[in-house]
């Protein structure tokens, strides 16, 4: 009995099993949890984390790290609002935001891969630089959206589900496909698993890493636009601490910080666990201060489980 339980929890699908069990328990015990309204609210609350986690997964899987995502989300949201206010065209605003996000990512990638600067340090630096840009551009104040049509990005619904949730779902599918079914995805896992082996196999490691970071910047811009639309303004201090939530979600989902291991389903589950934990604590009126402790504990437990899993699965390692 205990061994089969252990097998189940430490197996390939262990996280999914735990998640399903937790979901059932929470649905039965927490009032108002399993309602359409709450479910949509929950999903909407994890859109930013979920979207950014898609590319963070690639970043971590290739043995890299990106701390600048929170700043990039805020900055590109700000750019979207300011550019569309200035030009009167939402499309131009969105394009400007996407371009800015991609440029930040590209810069990260070039510094890290081409000049071989540690990713942690590089993105720590760009995190501050980009946050600075957001503050400078807006003079430290929130910038309201002039054209109400901008709100529609997050207010509009398709089949009763808000657009941002569709976008997140689409990203999950697209990046899941990219990871598992394309050469790009396989190369990402390969350079994370053994960069030297990948180089010897003819993978252009430098270019791959630059691409991954550029993609990360672009995706951050999408998240930034959606966030700005939801909070109806560009906020220079938006999404602070997002990088840690996103990395937590990825690690919860079994993405290895040492690179080489990642699954999209894992990341989706990781994102949902983060969302559910927060949602449940809100429903139970648990004070926000305690939520930090709980979130940290969840992360620690997940990592410990993951460690046990890899020890159990690899006697020779």
């Amino acid at each position: 009995m205990t061994t089969s339980l252990k097998k189940l929890l430490l197996g390939e699908q262990g996280l999914l099993v735990i998640f399903a069990a937790a979901f059932v328990v929470v649905s039965l015990t927490v009032p108002n949890f399993l309602t359409e309204r709450n479910m949509l609210g929950l999903l909407q609350s994890v859109v930013t984390i979920g979207v950014v986690a898609c590319t963070m997964m690639f970043c971590l899987a290739s043995r890299d790290f990106d701390l600048s995502v929170g700043s990039t989300v805020a900055f590109s949201g700000m750019v979207a609002v300011m550019a569309s206010n200035a030009t009167g065209s939402i499309v131009l605003g969105l394009l400007a935001a996407l371009a800015c996000g991609a440029i930040v990512g590209l810069a990260n990638g070039i510094v890290i891969a081409r000049f071989r600067i540690n990713a942690l340090i590089t993105t720590l630096a760009t995190m501050q630089i980009v946050r600075g840009f957001a503050l400078i551009a807006s003079d430290g104040r929130a910038v309201g959206i002039n054209d109400p049509a901008f709100y529609q990005l997050s207010l509009s619904k398709f089949l009763t589900v808000p657009t941002p949730i569709w976008v997140m779902g689409l990203f999950f599918v697209v990046f899941g496909f990219l990871l598992n079914r394309t050469v790009f995805g396989k190369n990402t896992l390969a350079i994370g698993g053994n960069p030297e082996a990948s180089r010897l196999a003819g993978v252009d490691v430098v270019r791959m890493r630059i691409w991954i970071f550029a993609l990360q910047g672009l995706v951050c811009a999408v998240a930034g636009v959606l966030l700005a639309s939801r909070i109806t303004s560009g906020q220079p201090n938006a999404a602070t601490g997002l990088e840690l939530s996103v990395i937590s979600a990825c690690v919860l989902g079994g993405v290895s910080l040492a690179g080489g291991r990642a699954t999209m389903t894992g990341v989706v589950v990781g994102v949902l666990i983060m969302g559910i934990a927060e949602n449940v604590m809100n429903l139970l009126n648990i004070q926000a201060f305690y939520q930090y402790v709980v979130r940290g504990l969840i992360l620690l437990i997940a990592v410990l489980l993951d460690n046990m899993r890899s020890v159990a699965g690899r006697p020779r390692a």
Partner: protein
């Protein structure tokens, strides 16, 4: 045979900082030949292969493919020119499947962005089946070392090559697996593919190859037809001097059977090794041989508590040692010198003095403060005794040559007054001169009564240096050789698990460095 040059190396040199790994070497490879490349460790064979395969750029000289000069800037370029390299070190992604690893290079050259798993696995299985019946959907990390080596070879076979380089492919293979590989190499040759074959094993070179080129100390020495030379000739070219002078005198037979310093009984860790028993006696150097991955390092780590053991007993001078962690072992006088000198043997950026003092800081501190004068005195004393050539004990270890770095690593161990030193590949990557100095040093330490255990992959080193050699195979002591029975053949037989009766079809190998 028509002589048509596929690959030519002209005056290629390669420097790493001040070290000349290759000096103006020349090399020619004809179509459809198997060309052996021989030389001692550090002779520059692997460096040249890395230049050819685009891993390292040459400092000078040119590479010609079918008469046209080419610039091989990356492994991808080499592959597109039809050059494949089977690396000596296994370079695979542990979390990817065998099939994905095998076709990583091919996948990257294809234009399509999508993976076709069904076809990938089918093709991979077809190639793999030629070597061994291994299921290609497994993850590489779950395979034992010898199978990983087969994957590495299978990977090269998937490339459409005209030149295929094997850098010591049989180091981790069993005899049967090696025979399969030789069959494949002959088959490739028949299809007009040119093979460069690097090996230390003369028997393989002489049964497989058409010509042999010898390198020594980064220079080209000679190219001969295999039919015209004997293994002894090749060895003489490789070494360039009489071999017997290389090693210090061994123990006299009268000194044999000194009392045991360290005795190990039935040691096992429940995974990598089991049932390991041996004695290390006063005054002797005990060698430990075996294939890479056979568990040699793990046994040494088990003895000094760097790795948990689940069974067995270790006695030091007849006192049972109960070690829970490495610091206990060091305190008791059993120290370990890692094979990975740069990774875990020395602190490259710290000074020589700080390195030497690292294991025994307590003895040098008073009132919790480090006495740097004492540290200096200790370091100066030990470096003088060991003959470390250096600018001063304040210089960082990174300023020293490999051989002198190794001496500092040994000095570090000597600083704690050890009774037993376990050395893992003590002379790996060290030039010939420094190597024999280290050998002499080890012999002196053994005479002085310190138990010395040397793990080595170099058979000549085991035979030349050690008084007895234990051979490890698959985590067990497969046997022991000493005195006149100590030959490369005897050690290899034990290491690869073939009995002394068969396997005589191999040509006798006088020596292989």
């Amino acid at each position: 045979m028509t002589t048509e040059t596929v690959l030519e190396i002209r005056n290629v040199s390669k420097h790493f900082g001040a070290v000349n790994a290759l000096t103006a070497v020349n090399f020619r490879l004809e179509r459809g030949e198997v060309h052996a490349l021989c030389g001692e460790n550090g002779a520059g064979k692997s460096t040249l292969m890395n230049v050819i395969a685009g891993v390292l750029p040459p400092s000078e000289g040119e590479v010609l493919i079918e008469g046209a000069p080419v610039k091989i800037a990356s492994p991808a370029v080499a592959q597109s020119l039809g050059i494949g390299l089977v690396h000596q070190e296994i370079a695979l992604c542990p979390d990817a499947t065998i099939a994905e690893n095998m076709f990583m290079a091919a996948t990257n050259r294809r234009r399509s962005a999508l993976m076709n798993y069904a076809q990938l696995e089918r093709d991979a299985q077809a190639v793999m089946n030629r070597l061994a019946p291994i299921d290609v959907s497994q993850k590489v990390g779950d395979l034992p070392i010898s199978s990983q080596q087969l994957v590495e070879i299978a990977k090269a076979l998937t490339l459409d090559c005209r030149v295929l380089i094997f850098d010591e492919p049989t180091a981790a293979l069993t005899e049967t697996e090696a025979q399969v590989l030789f069959g494949i190499i002959r088959d490739l040759k028949a299809r007009g593919i040119s093979i460069i074959y690097i090996s230390h094993r003369m028997a393989e070179v002489f049964s497989l190859c058409d010509r042999v080129t010898v390198f020594r100390d980064g220079r080209y020495v000679a190219t001969e037809e295999i039919a015209d030379v004997t293994p002894d000739d090749v060895v003489r070219l490789m070494v360039g001097r009489e071999i017997s002078q290389l090693y210090p005198d061994k123990q006299h037979s009268s000194e044999r059977l000194g009392e045991p310093i360290l005795s190990v009984r039935g040691l096992g860790d429940g995974a990598r090794f089991r049932d390991v028993s041996f004695e290390l006696r006063h005054g002797e150097i005990l060698g430990v041989g075996g294939l890479i991955g056979s568990g040699r390092t793990e046994i040494a780590e088990g003895v000094c508590a760097l790795r948990p053991v689940t069974q067995g007993e270790i006695r030091l001078h007849d006192k049972v040692l109960r070690l829970r962690r490495y610091s206990d072992a060091a305190k008791a006088g059993v120290v370990y010198l890692s094979e990975d000198r740069k990774g875990s043997g020395v602190f490259l950026d710290l000074s020589i003095a700080q390195n030497i003092a690292a294991l025994d800081l307590k003895a040098l501190t008073s009132l919790g403060l480090l006495n740097s004068r004492k540290e200096r005195v200790l370091a100066e004393d030990l470096t003088r005794r060991l003959g470390v050539r250096m600018g001063g004990v304040d210089m960082p270890v990174s300023s020293l040559s490999g051989g002198n770095q190794q001496k500092v690593a040994i000095a570090k161990q000597l600083a704690v007054d050890p009774k037993v030193i376990l050395m893992d590949e003590p002379t790996r990557g060290i030039d010939v001169g420094a190597k024999s100095e280290i050998h002499r040093l080890l012999r002196e330490l053994a005479r002085a009564g310190i138990g010395i255990l040397v793990i080595s992959s170099e058979l000549p080193e085991l035979i030349g240096l050690c008084d007895r050699v234990l051979v490890v195979r698959e985590g067990r002591i497969a046997g022991e050789v000493s005195g006149d029975e100590m030959t490369e053949e005897a050690i290899m037989r034990l290491a690869s698990g073939i009995g002394p009766a068969n396997g005589t079809n191999l040509k006798a190998s006088g020596h292989a460095a």
